[in-house]
Symmetry: C2
Subunit: 266 residues, 2 copies
């Protein structure tokens, strides 16, 4: 199926990426996933600030200003006829002028792509702790929404293979970092906590807001803590997801502060 | 510039990847870089075996058999008029049928791409140890030639910013893992060694051969070892690269066993 996307500043129904795009060959880029309600992208300034911060850490220039990107997203939603949507913005260093890791060759012409999909509310999930991979808290990538999703993918696939809906990732020191596509909040002794950024955690936009809302504190979560958590919520920019079980242990029900977090439905 | 590539089983001068390709969106794939001499791909069975092994670890099917892939590479080299070349084979899970990390949606139609470039002999390099990132020896990705090259890229970019040609990466335990696109061999007390696979090392095809050729042993290399290495070689499937300096310290000259490793020039 051909779907309209917004690519390098214009809408197109026939998007084509170069096979030399360094996003494709080397995961050389960053992205954001943005919830849209009634056609309005939520937290857009924060998403764009994080995109720009990640891009600057990788040395990828982004000349388009925020207003043009916002206009592109609005045009995309209109063209797709979507109001409740998940918009993904992907920024890569663009097609390489020569092969090899670095330097990328000049001139750099970054690729900026926006795609949209209908928003689907996630159901409750049963999670397990990934065994075959760890999140690298020693890499700047763990604090960036980079294209390098291999570990998340491996963890999620392992969980699915063992009959679970999602995976929790530990970092290389053995502390909880996050779920495969979300930050994790756990309730222990009646108090909410979420792992600190230094444990290899993406600074999630929903995470920052939920910290204040629940309220929760930032504190390390070790496997012996996980063994006795009373409740768990997964949070990302698209949704809050209730966790009903961790491995074979049922967790408590939680009232999700959906409307407080994402705003009231239109 | 438009260059012929081999994509999904045929040569094309107008290659177009889908923006939904999971190689692009999630680094969901693996690749190989293959040296060709006089139009013949070196070590092709080993490259294809490693590609298939990585693909199976990620659950990416590859239905094309080795002979068809070999024919595709031959056709590509002929079309490009290249005899001494670097061929890159990239395999991804292909375009996603739905957004999200997992499941990828059915049916899976993997993308298999071969591109070719003239082979260039690397010059000698000066290297430094990356400070801002580490290689994750706890991830299966470190043993796979996956598309997740973000840490290598960050390390290489840091080294370039500090005036060096390449970066050595330590793992999260502080042991040497590799250079940004090659395995590392160091001479200590007159004996060659290279880090063991468990330290987060790609099982390089040149590495395996050089272990026998030099000969070298597999043994952990710590920063205090690096401080006194006498010589260093970087090795990958394309070339051996002599290292002339580590940080501000000059290293000894080395005779590179080029012909023994890659075969005599045509």
């Amino acid at each position: 199926v051909t779907e309209t996307v917004w690519l390098d500043g214009r809408l197109t129904e026939e998007p084509a990426l170069s096979p030399a795009d360094r996003g494709f060959t080397l995961a050389d880029g960053v992205f954001e996933t943005i919830r849209c309600r009634a056609g309005v992208p939520l937290w857009l300034p924060d998403h764009l600030a994080r995109l720009r911060h990640g891009a600057s850490q990788l040395g990828i220039p982004l000349s388009l200003d925020d207003r043009l990107i916002a206009r592109g997203i609005a045009d995309l939603l209109a063209a797709r006829g979507l109001a409740e949507a998940a918009v993904r913005l992907t920024l890569t260093r663009g097609p390489a002028a020569q092969r090899g890791l670095w330097p990328p060759g000049e001139p750099v012409r970054p690729t900026l792509l926006a795609t949209a999909a209908p928003l689907r509310a996630p159901g409750p999930v049963r999670v397990t702790v990934a065994r075959i991979t760890r999140r690298n808290e020693h890499s700047p990538l763990s604090g960036m929404k980079s294209l390098n999703y291999g570990d998340n993918l491996i963890a999620r696939r392992e969980a699915a293979g063992r009959g679970f809906d999602d995976a929790l990732l530990l970092n290389t020191s053995g502390a909880l970092a996050c779920a495969s596509v979300a930050n994790a909040f756990v309730r222990l002794d009646g108090r909410w906590r979420t792992p600190p950024l230094r444990d290899g955690v993406l600074p999630g936009l929903a995470r920052a807001r939920l910290l204040a809302l629940l309220p929760a504190e930032e504190a390390r979560v070790m496997p012996h803590d996980l063994a006795r958590v009373e409740a768990m919520i997964l949070a990302n920019s698209l949704a809050l997801t209730p966790v009903t079980a961790l491995d074979d242990r049922d967790l408590g029900e939680v009232r999700l502060p959906e409307d407080e977090l994402y705003g009231l439905p239109a």
